[in-house]
Subunit: 206 residues, 2 copies
DNA sequence: GTCTATACTGAGATAGAC
DNA sequence: GTCTATCTCAGTATAGAC
């Protein structure tokens, strides 16, 4: 079969999304895909290589959407400062479109960030786009010390990852947990206020 | 040896803190502790049971400190509303004391929350204390709809977990990444502003 | 270049002797 | 309570068929 590779990718994406990376064995993947175990290592080198391929296929369009969205709001601002909300929406809401098609993959993206899982893969797919958004936030919040800005980005990543992949710990009305979009909008509200908070006092004397 | 159990616990706590739970094999633990593999299963039932025991030993005092601190600030407020900052400090800063003694364990606590790792263990150790803090926040923010409050707590947990266990993704001055305390103070600033943000508009028509 | 069959190492778990 | 031996299943590596 010519598309052994595609079958492995499709099956792996589904199973990893459903069960998580660690809990998904290659043997389970190959059984459902109807291929041989060694084919995985031939095409992807290792289990981690397979994950990388799965992620690349899906996360690339998300990042492109993020950047396009950011450029649009920057253009609309006409060279002036861009609202923090707009920047965060550009970063957070593109995942929502993907969620409609493959909710499992959103969980996988969240997992990759939340778990220390494959730091190299996360760096590769997240850092370049992330740096671009850091620049935008730096311009939007010129009064905030650089170090505190970077920590706030770190906090944002944590909150986002957790929101994308973990069920809420406290009981919520059944409709509340269903869709990603309303959740992400609450997150934008929350994070925007956090980013706009005055710098923490007494930081310098550390 | 009578304290086989203690030796296993001490060694497991150290190794899991250093390397993470998944990366730490029982065989590595028993080799360093100088005990037999079956002893682990005799005393703790499973690898997960061992983790539970490790966590219980350390997280219980942290939660007690959290609750004591919260009660103190509530008393100081004399029945009136407690400031959001004070509530968040009561929740976040007790981990700092632990970090001074065993920084590895702070990373482990963060990992437990960040990774879907052992949801039962997380629930057991986190929910009861968490519920108490949700009540305090509900009183401090009476105008905020219940559902949005609970999501904000979810965001907080994500940001906190990520902050406790992940190295910053963007380059920071070397002193910046060292201590937990200044990081947690920045986090309190950020989260307090997020919690005090007005409710997201247009939520109801969902 | 692609893929199959098979073997290797190390993981967690368990039964039963002592 | 403790230890030996063993079981199952994971990811990985390689030899060779096509």
């Amino acid at each position: 079969m010519i598309d052994t590779k595609e079958k492995i990718l499709d099956t792996a994406e589904r199973l990893i999304g459903e069960q998580g990376y660690a809990a998904t064995s290659l043997r389970h993947v190959i059984a459902e895909a109807g291929v041989n175990l060694a084919a995985v290592h031939y095409h992807f080198g290792s289990k981690e290589g397979l994950l990388d391929a799965v992620v690349t296929r899906k996360v690339t369009p998300v990042n492109l959407t993020r950047l396009a969205w950011l450029e649009r709001v920057e253009t609309e601002a006409g060279g002036g400062p861009v609202e923090v909300e707009k920047i965060l929406e550009s970063f957070l809401l593109p995942t929502v479109e993907v969620a409609g098609r493959s909710p499992d993959f959103v969980r996988l993206m969240g997992q990759m960030l939340a778990e220390g899982m494959m730091p190299r893969i996360v760096e590769k797919h997240f850092r370049p786009t992330g740096m671009r958004f850091v620049s935008a936030l730096r311009q939007a919040l010129p009064a905030l010390p650089e170090e505190e800005l970077l920590w706030r980005v770190h906090f944002m990543v944590g909150a986002m990852a957790h929101t994308m992949c973990r069920p809420p710990m406290f009981p919520l009305p059944p409709e509340g947990a269903a869709d990603l979009e309303p959740r992400m909008k609450l997150l934008v509200t929350f994070l925007s206020a956090g980013f706009r908070a005055p710098a923490t006092a007494g930081k310098e004397e550390r």
